[in-house]
Amino acid sequence: MPDTLDRLQPIFREVLENPGLTVDRASSARTVEGWDSLAHVNLIAAVEEAFGVRFALGELEEMQCVGDLVDTIARKRGG
């Protein structure tokens, strides 16, 4: 079973329309081209749908990078 980071890869590629993109735990809006405010809304919506979670605004405020996103998903899914 793919881990959370693996499952995020196709979501980032599709939302950011970049088939060659690979994100890692350190990737963030500052380092990934095209990750603007509109893409951010779409990313969060796509991640929530894919993982069946709903992020609180306070959680989103603390997610600085993909690693934070991975950890928050794990926490919300009881992992």
């Binding site: 809006a29 405010s37 405020e61």
Partner: protein, 220 residues
Amino acid sequence: MPGLRIRAAEPRDLAFLVTAIRESERVPADGRTMYEAIFAMTTAEVERFLGETLRTGPADWGLSLERFLVAERAGTPVGACAAWVEAAHGVPSGHLAAIAISRFLGGTRWRASGARVRALASSAPHRSAGALQLESFYTAPEARGLGVSARLIAQAIAHAMAGPGGPPIAEIGLLVENDAAARAYAKAGFAPAWRTAAPNPAFREATGSVGFVQLRRALP
């Protein structure tokens, strides 16, 4: 200005701040707010969104109660502005704003406003991470011409510089058409640093504005 006091906003200021933000967000086309022009909110929705977000929204952007300063005279609020350090915890304030607005509107209405949102995004300045952001300036009609904005700016900068590692610069973004406000900010040391390169037709149609100017000044 005698009798003018600048203080942190408190819950009792909520109604005043909703008015202040609405007034500061009016667009040239028809006097509606940016929320109505871009996101197709009704006036009642704008008031509800601002009230809810000021109370419960993310702290790291300009629509949080704790980011506002209020100018009062004889106990009555006569001015306000928001001040925060951009991306203090790593997340750009624009991302938080987009999330909060999309959550308020719901997915269908958010997507329906997509073209106008993209027009806004392509017209707006990039906020520098770590820079002090000053926004949502408002002075009540009875207090105009008395230097309220200058006092708010001075207090916001003093507050930001009070601790170690204060921000190196301050930025103000405003619509190009707000000449009077730009002149007031120039007196406080702000100079144009960026301007929307090419007016976006969709943004102009929705707001009547050709875009934004971003003012900047170094901090001591």
